[in-house]
């Protein structure tokens, strides 16, 4: 397809990618943009490992008999799939890659507040990831990603400690990232850039950072106690020594439920950028979306025990948590309605990022509505630990977070690399991923409702048709993920040069060159208007 003239441009002579060469200039860099790319490489690697586990899981589940793996092996597979995907891909995905790259540019700063801490967080992340992979190679972990006690402390004969320490270290890398973002957003905004002129992507990552800061330390201490319990044989969570396994679950979910918002809030931020850009319209309800991000971060901390409705909690506590969980639907719906209202009467262009954003809105809505179902006590008891849950959270995490991540990657790729990727193939990939995703996970709603439990490698034969559908969908999804990998790498070598503003949109990041210079702007920006100013009069004035 022939590109519009404004898409292509002449690259600047000096930019952050060619300012310095050699492996040292990357491994010792303090440039937030380069660190974003380092993170991109790391998480792509961890995604591939987590994805490989998913492939093996779906292969096993193509037949009712447990014929490909033994149940012990299968336990290790789904555990490592969960750990790799959650802690080493989804949580760092948008914040550490796109957030790292974009937040300083979007606030008009030269770098994050603490550039060396930023690099340090990348090293911590990789050490943690390699540590976890080491545990995987040496036999893996079979507790599920939730490490429930007393199984994880007393009975499991696998590498629980190594994996827990890996996640512990990765936690500190998230804490440092969140801390860096908060300080940067507070202290380093360009002149004229008030809080309500910030792009909504920055708002959503601010809310995400609050969860990083407030939630992650609790997981850290919980895993530390878990490891101590295993090493010393003490009984903080062990009922036979007076400990309480429910305390572990409370502490674990106090982080791990908000972690869901760590995954989805940044994706919402990406969608809030893409929708107005490709509807050529000012976003509808800016302040409501901004406040909804903060509301989600706050509410996310008040609903954790809905993971424990069948764990033996008091019915009164369960009722309160059920009601609070339903409240989450309010800010979520505020966002979806505002995006929809932004689309209304917009002049929509169906570019690749927009396809991903629309996919996000649809899939997130499905995931969110089933979430309200699960917040209902009666239904939760019925479908607890079934594939209904699996389908629900994959709609949020894969349908939501990964669609948002890929949408953002496609939207900002020309800015990050200065290169354009093939429009045809990128649109195809967006559609293949959307179809593959739905074929994979929609049947799992039905399977779960019919009663297929999660975490088993074998199942009754009547579930086979839907499971084969799901495995077939996973194959399509896998192909869908490979296509962008190929054309992104292709584009770095062969892609045409992107202009500084290939989409013809507004935003500080589009006012600097593609790729940006090391200090982001040739002249320090001064902000004189809000984001998303796409009013008709301006377009006339610009002669477009």
């Amino acid at each position: 397809m022939v590109a519009l003239p404004s898409e292509t441009g002449i690259p600047p002579k000096v930019h952050y990618l060619n300012a310095d060469y050699g492996i040292r200039s990357w491994l010792l860099t303090t440039d937030h943009k380069r660190i974003g790319i380092l993170y991109l490489i790391s998480i792509t690697f961890f995604f591939a490992i987590g994805g490989l586990m998913a492939v093996l899981i779906r292969m096993e589940l193509a037949t009712p008999e447990g014929d490909l793996f033994q149940s012990d092996t299968y336990n290790r597979l789904f555990t490592m799939h969960g750990i790799m995907m959650i802690f080493f891909f989804l949580i760092p995905s948008i914040p550490a890659v796109l957030g790292n790259f974009l937040i300083p540019i979007m606030v008009g700063a030269r770098d994050l507040a603490f550039p060396r801490l930023n690099l340090f967080s990348w090293y911590l992340f990789n050490i943690a990831g390699l540590f976890t992979i080491w545990a995987l190679v040496h036999g893996g972990v079979d507790t599920g990603w939730t490490f429930y006690t007393p199984y994880s402390t007393r009975y499991s004969n696998t590498h629980v400690i190594a994996t827990a320490l890996g996640i512990f270290i990765a936690g500190f890398s998230s804490i440092l990232t969140g801390l860096n973002f908060v300080v940067t957003i507070h202290r380093m905004r360009a002149p004229g850039l008030g809080w309500f002129r910030l792009p909504l992507f920055v708002w959503s990552l601010y809310a995400t950072s609050l969860i990083f800061i407030l939630g992650t330390p609790v997981l850290a201490i919980t895993l530390l106690l878990l490891a101590a319990e295993r090493v010393f044989g003490i009984g903080i969570f062990d009922p036979s020594l007076g400990g309480d396994p429910l305390l572990f679950q409370h502490l674990f979910w106090f982080y791990s439920h908000p972690a869901v918002y760590i995954m989805v809030l940044p994706a919402m931020g990406v969608v809030s950028e893409i929708v107005p850009a490709f509807a050529r319209k000012k976003i509808f309800g800016y302040r409501f979306i901004a406040y909804a991000s903060v509301a989600l971060a706050v509410l996310g901390f008040l609903v954790w025990a809905h993971h424990m409705f069948v764990a033996g909690m008091s019915i009164y506590a369960a009722t309160v948590f059920s009601a609070l969980s339903m409240l989450v639907a309010v800010p979520s719906a505020v966002k979806v309605f505002n995006w929809t209202a932004t689309l209304y009467q917009g002049s929509i262009s169906w570019d690749t990022p927009m396809l991903y954003a629309l996919g996000f809105i649809g899939l997130f809505t499905m995931g969110g509505l089933t979430g309200v179902m699960l917040a209902t006590l009666g239904i939760d008891v019925h479908v607890h630990d079934t594939y209904f849950i699996i389908a629900h959270f994959h709609y949020i995490m894969v349908g939501g977070a990964i669609m948002g991540y890929l949408g953002g990657l496609h939207y900002w790729w020309p800015k990050i690399t200065g290169k354009l990727y093939p429009r045809f193939w990128s649109r195809i990939s967006a559609m293949v991923i959307f179809i593959g995703f739905n074929v994979t996970f929609f049947p799992q709603f039905i399977l779960g409702y019919l009663g297929m439990p999660r975490r088993y490698h074998a199942y009754p034969p009547e579930f086979q048709v839907l499971n084969v559908m799901s495995s077939a969908g996973a194959t399509i999804l896998g192909v869908g993920y490979l296509i962008p990998l190929i054309y992104f790498i292709w584009s770095m070598r062969y892609g045409r040069h992107a202009s500084s503003n290939p989409w013809g949109v507004v935003g500080l990041e589009w006012e600097t060159t593609s790729p940006p210079p090391t200090e982001n702007f040739e002249t320090p920006p001064v902000v004189t208007r809000g984001p998303y100013e796409y009013s008709r009069s301006e377009e006339v004035a610009d002669g477009r």
Partner: protein, 216 residues
């Protein structure tokens, strides 16, 4: 910006003020994460003390109140010398800075020494949780839970003290070289915030662990 100010401001900041404000906010945010980190342990303490009040009171009486009180006084005194060190750094007075930092480190080290002595004593008495745990009173498993929490909480606190001593040692060397003055003293301020935080954690640990059995 004056030339001497430019020398202490990193390339991505506009002014010494912006740099100092960023550093101080960053430190406060870090301390928030620390509060949440210790918070998990405090929650565990609250839950189990609520469940086993008598065992906790009995186990608490095994701790040495004289040593605990001495340590409390030492830490409070070290917070005072730390605050004086920060003031000296702000005024750019090199000798008082070095002296007060050294005093703070000395007080912290004595604290750790006493803590080690207490730990040693508990090991000898068989009060370290695990296979070798021996407790003569009733509800021995629940008393063991108290000592689990005692070692976890004071151990984590002591680890923070050790890190704090390392940070102060760096400040001492930099201070002796005259790196700090009215324009640039945020490292000492941040180290001070950290030191006060560690002190405050102890202010909560002391009554919860040492005094909880005394009033009964």
């Amino acid at each position: 910006m004056a030339a001497d100010a430019r020398a202490v401001v990193a390339h991505h900041f506009d002014s010494p003020d912006q740099q100092r404000e960023a550093a101080s906010l960053g430190m406060w945010v870090f301390l928030v994460t620390e509060v949440m980190f210790f918070g998990g342990l405090f929650l565990a303490y609250v839950v189990y003390r609520g469940s086993f009040p008598h065992a906790f009171a009995a186990a608490s009486r095994e701790l040495d109140i004289v040593l605990g009180t001495t340590n409390t006084a030492l830490l409070l005194a070290s917070s005072l010398t730390m605050a004086l060190a920060v003031r000296a750094a702000q005024l750019g007075r090199r000798l008082p800075l070095v002296v007060f930092l050294a005093l703070t480190m000395a007080l912290g080290s004595v604290f750790l020494g006493i803590k080690m002595y207490e730990y040693h004593h508990k090991f000898v008495e068989g009060l370290f949780p695990g296979a070798a745990f021996r407790f003569s009173g009733p509800e021995a498993p629940h008393a063991e839970m108290f000592f689990c929490l005692y070692f976890a909480m004071t151990g984590l606190h002591a680890l923070h003290m050790v890190i704090g001593l390392g940070v102060l040692a760096v400040m001492l060397v930099l201070g002796a070289r005259g790196r700090f003055g009215p324009l640039y003293h945020n490292p000492v301020e941040c180290a001070g915030l950290y030191w006060h935080f560690v002190d405050i954690v102890w202010i909560f640990l002391f009554p919860l662990l040492y005094l909880v059995g005394r009033h009964a």
